[in-house]
Every structure is written in C-alpha cells, then in structure tokens.
Symmetry: C2
Subunit: 194 residues, 2 copies
C-alpha cells in the first residue's frame, strides 16, 4: 500500500491516522459515532495526555464536535479528563464492560419488561384461541432467552473470574474445531418444515 516509512515521526503519523480510522469504524459499527472512535483511537496511541486543541487539530474536527465528543467519551468512561487534558482508558475490558453495563443492559431490561407484559396479556385470556396460545409459547421462549442473556451480561460485566472463563472458552474453541449442533432448548414445538 504505502511504501515503508522511514522516520519515526511519519510512522507515528501513519499509525495514528490508521488506528483512528480503525476505531472510527468499530465505533460506527457499534452504534457510536465515527468521531468518538477516532478520538479514542488517537489517544490510545499517545502516552502524553492531549488537550482539546491538540485533538481538534490532529483530526481536523470542528471545535464544537471536539468538545461534545470529548465529553461524551468521558461520560462513557472511555476517556479520563485531567484538568484540560484527556487520556484514554486503555484497559479494553473496562471499556467494553462499561459500555455493556450501561447500554446493553438497559436495552435488555426494557425488552424483558415488555415481553413479560405481552406474556401477561396473552395468558390472562379467558378463552384463548389456537393462535394466541401459540404466540404465548413463543413469547415465553423469548422471555426465557432474554433472561439468560441478562444473566450472561451480568456475568460478563461483573469483572474478574468471568474474564478468565471467557479466555478459557476461547482456548477451547481452538481445540474443538467445529460445530457439534446440540440444538433443542429453544424449539419446544417443531414449527417449520424446511
């Protein structure tokens, strides 16, 4: 792509631009803004804290966007502010579990509440129809699945032992190679023929 870079300065520039872009994409993909990712990516490579101005200049963002994005990142616990300087939180586990803690958990909680409300409506019927009964089984399936998800997220974000477990799982994967398809669990009925 680019010819090998020879001085440390230009290599660092390349690294910063590139990593900012990598994080920019990841961020956009996960429902954050590209700018949030870019700033984090830049800071990730910097030992010394950077100021608003440094960041703005380096990434050519408007002053306004820089300011708002910085504070959002601080709120997300992804950057830390020290006076007028910013540093990246580089422990990725902290970053990720932090995001999950706030965002995905809220989401799943809302979903659980609503699904349970649906289940209640369907199960309180005096004279269920075939269709409503069917829907009820599906809703219950779902409710169970979401609860499992909720518990899993809890496990994930209550840091410590779980992280090691995940590491173990990853290790296992290599061992097992490929699938073993132990279906069941979420198919109480046999709804569809091919």
């Amino acid at each position: 792509m680019t010819a090998p870079l020879h001085d440390a300065e230009s290599a660092l520039d390349f690294a910063q631009d590139e990593l900012a872009d990598v994080f920019g994409n990841i961020a956009a993909f996960w429902g954050f803004t590209k700018t949030q990712g870019r700033i984090y990516g830049l800071l990730f490579l910097c030992e010394a804290p950077m100021s608003h101005g440094d960041i703005q200049r380096r990434l050519s963002i408007s002053a306004g966007s820089t300011s708002m994005t910085l504070s959002s990142l601080v709120q997300w616990g992804v950057l830390r502010r020290d006076g007028r300087l910013y540093v990246a939180e580089t422990d990725m586990w902290k970053v990720i579990t932090g995001v999950f803690r706030r965002r995905e958990r809220d989401q799943i909680d809302t979903a659980i509440v609503r699904v349970d409300r649906i289940a209640a409506a369907l199960s309180s019927l005096e004279t269920p129809s075939k269709a409503s009964a069917f829907a009820l089984t599906r809703v219950r399936q779902l409710s169970e699945f979401f609860s499992l998800g909720r518990r899993f997220i809890d496990a994930f974000i209550s840091r410590g032992p779980v992280r090691d477990l995940l590491t173990n799982i990853a290790a296992r994967a290599a061992t097992f190679g490929t699938r073993t398809t132990t279906s069941a669990t979420l198919e109480p009925d046999a709804p569809l023929g091919h």
Copy 2:
C-alpha cells in the same frame, strides 16, 4: 397502560404490534433497520407462514420496503422462504450466531489485519522514537486483545458445547453476585494517574 384485553384476537393483535416494536428497537440498536426487526417480530409470533402481502398489510409498510426487507432477512438466515411464504427462524442461538458469523467476524478480521499492519510499520523503524516505541506497545496490546476476541467469537459461533458454557457462566454470575476486579492483563504500562 392499556386495559386488559378480553378476546383472543385483540390480545394477539396487541402481542404482535408490541413484539414487532420490541424487535424493531433491538434491530435498530444492532445496526439493522427497524423494519427488519418488526417483520421478524411479527413472524416470530405466527405459527402459519405469511406472505408478502399479509406482512405488508399487517405492518403498514410499503410494498417496496416489504420486498427488500424480506429478502435481506432471508439472506441473513433469519427468515426462511417457502414458495411465496415466509417463516421466522425462531432458534435465537441460530439467529445470533449466524449474524455474528457473518458480520462481527468480518469486522474483527479487518481490524486485526489493519492493526498488524500498523504494528509492522512501527516495528520496522531503524530509529524508533520514544513516542513510536510507546505506540508500538499499545498496538501490540490491542492486537492481542483482538485476537482473543476473535477466538472468543469463534468459540461462540461454533455451536454446541459453548452454548452450555455460556449458560454455566450465567449461572455462576448469580452465585458470585458482584465484582472481584482482577485487573492486569492489558495494562503493561501504568499510563494514567487519575
């Protein structure tokens, strides 16, 4: 919210509307369109397959959107098409791992390639600067982290044993209650004093 519904038909209508909306939100959150989620939500509650027309009418979507969304969902392996009828794939594990398989894995692979390229650029320097050396350690951190993530995703999507493991983890969470903060692993340097 709404007063209790008394006949099965209206309860079912409520359930469908509501679940369509729940899935609509989840979908939007995870980078799909709200419409994709709504269609899936609707179908999730239906025993009998539905046609394009049924779906379009029930959700009041335009014909065009219905058509395009249906085919995207089929492509994602989230619906199955049987002639002119559609059914939901209701095994949530299949659905989720399917999405991960295609989407998140691609993403992380791209990131890994780019990060490694950055590492190469920084490590091939004849005369590294302090800053470039620092950046290199960070990039290596990251590369390792991404590889772990990659392995974890692989474990997750190679179905079977892993699912049970996840279930176990979830079970553990309840036991452990709260955090145990065993940091380390991704902090080779001590970059920031609060």
